[in-house]
């Protein structure tokens, strides 16, 4: 395949929404309403098909963010406090509060659209934990995407949805983002989208670090393997400031298939223990004092719960078990009537299996393959490999403006959710320092960002322009891997082994090996140091050079090439920021052996920026405002 054989298609719009997951759906739903009032165009571009696109593709068994404000259950301040403590103090209260004050509205919409939410006898939502509600969520994404598509239809010709187009590059006009470039993964078409405002909602990043399973199970990552760092790459390449690029997330999940543990801990009140049956949260409680005030507050931050478990593993006290059997026995033992107890057991069994079948079917298969009955047999849990996801207990993403009425100091610059680049907005996993938004909060943040981006479109109504000669340059660069393969493929007997190029799969494995061994991956117990990180950076520079020689035999492989370039940029920003922050603050995410303690002087955001003009990285600290 030759770049010359690709038709170039140019599409002009007002608001360009990049992505198809929960945040993109929220953005499309919200944008349609306001765009109609102002006669503006909205275009959504998705690498997959919206009904199963993004991290909620498989479904979910709970909505992890619902405040219940109308019943006076919680306050915004309570929620901000909870999130800030979980992230060891490093959180933008203005952003978290902005999502929290709107999120109930989104959940009420989901219910009306048809999402079955569990109800108690009085008709109230069933809480899993304080902020979490239980759902029958197999079709969660189907429902939300239908609402988003129907909302776009309200715009008639002004609302467009493009599926199976992979976006890989921002288009700039000086210091303003005015569009995006990409290609179809189904036909030989190169796309240029020109827009007055661009909303980056392309998800988090997986497969940066070497996964625990490297055979067939490579794809069984906790977060989906198709979320490959497109968001971070896009904002970085546009020259936007990024925040919390060091705050990876290491989830503890049921071992190997990565089934969710939330329902077991929160709903069924199960305990996790070492092989001897000791509850390490009790036996190792003294360790938490070292990480005060966060370690001693309740609930214990996710990374510290991980850390205590990792200490058990390191001392050889594994396997670590979720005591599902004990938890179920305890619930049933409290019911004196035998018939009722039996009915309850049946109910719990169904709930336990649904938890997996709704969102991690592979874990149900894993239980069945090992003949595990949760009411009889405890199951192993383990720390996964690191991920980049700001919607859960990680925080990496673009540094964005808060809303005018909640943001203080330098945290507001004109438009909520706008990055430091004019016209470029971010939400969901693409925006940083606003953790714990989960599915409902990501959808909600997409709504906030889309409305704000439309305000920008109205304030800057002139058609955007950019140097048209750039189009050919971009096209050739993006399609280069096809040409590289075409040029050299006949040289060697094996299409994958050729000194003239590297295929994306081996490129990914090389990145994962560097990150795992030098940047504190699972195989080294999540430990790293300045010397190791600098070595890792050195190897990443070779990768950057070799990325020019990525080769693709077809459109699918071309997408894989760019996914892995995106991963490489996410990786570099991660290493540089861990290196910059000379302390250990999230010991259960990563541990700096050369700076093993948390320091007051690092009670701040660690931000980074790649300068498109000089190609240099700039690191800076930013203050945390009290909310």
């Amino acid at each position: 395949m030759n770049p010359g054989q690709f038709e170039t298609i140019i599409i002009e719009t007002d608001l360009l929404i990049l992505g198809g997951g929960m945040a993109a759906c929220g953005a499309a739903f919200e944008a349609a309403h306001w765009a109609k009032q102002h006669n503006l165009k909205v275009t959504v571009v998705d690498k997959a098909a919206m009904e199963r696109s993004g991290a909620v593709a498989m479904g979910l068994s709970a909505i992890n963010l619902y405040l219940g404000l109308k019943n006076g259950k919680n306050t915004i301040e309570d929620y901000v406090k909870y999130v800030k403590n979980d992230l060891m103090g490093i959180t933008r209260g203005d952003l978290v509060a902005n999502i929290a004050r709107h999120v109930d509205s989104s959940v009420h919409l989901f219910e009306k659209w048809g999402l079955p939410i569990w109800k108690d006898e009085e008709g109230n939502y069933v809480n899993e934990g304080r902020w979490q509600i239980m759902i029958h969520g197999e079709s969660y994404k189907n429902i939300v995407s239908e609402a988003a598509k129907n909302a776009l239809k309200e715009l008639g010709d002004n609302g467009k949805y493009y599926e199976r187009i992979f976006i890989t590059e921002p288009i700039m006009d000086g210091d303003r983002c005015v569009g995006a470039a990409g290609f179809s993964v189904r036909e030989n078409k190169f796309y240029i989208f020109k827009a007055k405002a661009v909303l980056d909602v392309m998800g988090g990043a997986v497969h940066i670090f070497r996964p625990r399973s490297v055979g067939e199970g490579l794809g069984r990552s906790w977060y989906p393997p198709f979320n490959s760092g497109a968001s971070a790459y896009f904002t970085l390449k546009a020259g936007a400031e990024m925040t919390c690029q060091e705050v990876r997330f290491v989830p503890v999940r049921f071992k190997d298939s990565y089934g969710p543990v939330g329902a077991w801990f929160l709903l069924f009140k199960a305990k996790a223990t070492n092989a001897k049956g000791e509850d390490y949260m009790v036996t190792r409680a003294a360790e938490l004092e070292k990480w005060a005030p966060y370690g001693t507050a309740k609930p214990t931050p996710a990374n510290l719960r991980n850390y205590l478990m990792m200490q058990e593993v390191e001392e050889g006290n594994g396997p670590i078990y979720m005591r599902t059997d004990e938890a179920i026995k305890e619930v049933v033992a409290n019911i004196p009537d035998e018939k009722q107890a039996k009915r309850k057991l049946k109910e719990l069994e169904s709930e336990a299996w649904e938890d997996f079948l709704d969102m991690t079917i592979s874990q149900a298969l894993n239980w069945a393959a090992h003949n595990i009955m949760p009411e009889e047999t405890p199951s192993e849990i383990a720390a996964c490999e690191p991920y980049f996801i700001s919607s859960h207990s990680g925080a990496s993403g673009a540094w964005i403006s808060g809303p005018e009425d909640l943001a203080k100091g330098d945290k507001f610059w004109g438009y909520a959710n706008m990055s430091t680049v004019k016209g470029l907005f971010a939400a969901g996993d693409a925006s940083g320092a606003s953790s714990h938004k989960f599915s409902s909060g990501s959808f909600t943040e997409g709504r906030i960002a889309a409305k704000s981006a439309l305000a920008f479109c109205v304030d800057f109504p002139d058609p955007v322009s950019f140097d048209e000669t750039k189009i050919e340059v971009l096209k050739n660069r993006i399609l280069q891997p096809l040409l590289t393969f075409e040029t050299h493929k006949e040289f060697a007997n094996d299409v994958d082994v050729n000194p003239n190029f590297i295929k994306p799969k081996m490129f990914m494995f090389r990145l994962q090996k560097i990150m795992d061994e030098y940047a504190g991956g699972a195989s080294v117990g999540f430990k790293t140091s300045k010397a190791l990180l600098e070595k890792g950076l050195e190897f990443l520079q070779y990768m950057k050079e070799d990325s020019e020689k990525l080769a693709a035999s077809d459109l699918n492989e071309l997408m894989r090439c760019w996914e892995n370039v995106h991963r490489m940029w996410q990786a570099e920003s991660h290493i540089r920021t861990i290196l910059f922050r000379e302390e250990t603050r999230w010991p259960g995410y990563y541990f700096r052996t050369d700076y093993p303690e948390m320091k007051d002087e690092w009670e701040c955001f660690a931000n980074c920026k790649w300068n498109p003009e000089t190609g240099e990285w700039e690191m800076k600290r930013r203050e945390i405002e009290e909310f």
Binding site: H33, L69, S105, L115, E146, G215, G219, P224, I361, A368
Partner: protein, 144 residues
């Protein structure tokens, strides 16, 4: 595996311009072998086991064989998805079978009205109220 295709059952979605599995796979793994007229998973080690292809296949030709690098053989988990519920058959390695049925949707497919009966926000683009607020919040919007 990851998903695999039972050759006898797959008809390549012959009546349509693309196969259902190809349409739905979020990782773009399912493709049609045009000569054999059968779909296949082109990169089983990039499969998330999300079951989107299994659920959508009109001839029930796609199943999942658990990742062989950590799952013993012999178990299956097979769904049957309708418009309002999903039935699961879980077969254990020891051949025990458990069946579950869960609701998935309370409204007819295709019926969603975006505003869902909530009244529209009255403010302008700079006002913090979103599309259906405050009605869909059920309370006043939090302000500082």
């Amino acid at each position: 595996m990851p998903s695999f295709v039972i050759k006898d059952k797959c008809d390549g979605c012959k009546a349509q311009d693309r196969t259902a599995c190809q349409y739905i796979c979020p990782n773009d793994l399912m493709v049609l072998d045009k000569e054999k007229n059968k779909a296949y998973n082109r990169a089983v080690d990039m499969c998330w086991e999300c079951y989107s292809c299994v659920k959508i296949c009109p001839t029930q030709a796609i199943e999942i064989r658990g990742y062989a690098d950590f799952m013993p053989l012999g178990a299956t988990v097979q769904p049957m998805r309708s418009t309002d519920s999903i039935m699961w058959a879980v077969r254990f390695r020891n051949q025990q079978i458990k069946r579950f049925k869960f609701p998935i949707r309370t409204t007819p497919e295709g019926s969603i009205q975006p505003d869902a009966g909530f009244s529209s926000a009255s403010g302008d683009l700079k006002d913090p109220h979103l599309r259906t607020e405050p009605d869909s919040l059920g309370t006043e919007l939090y302000r500082k």
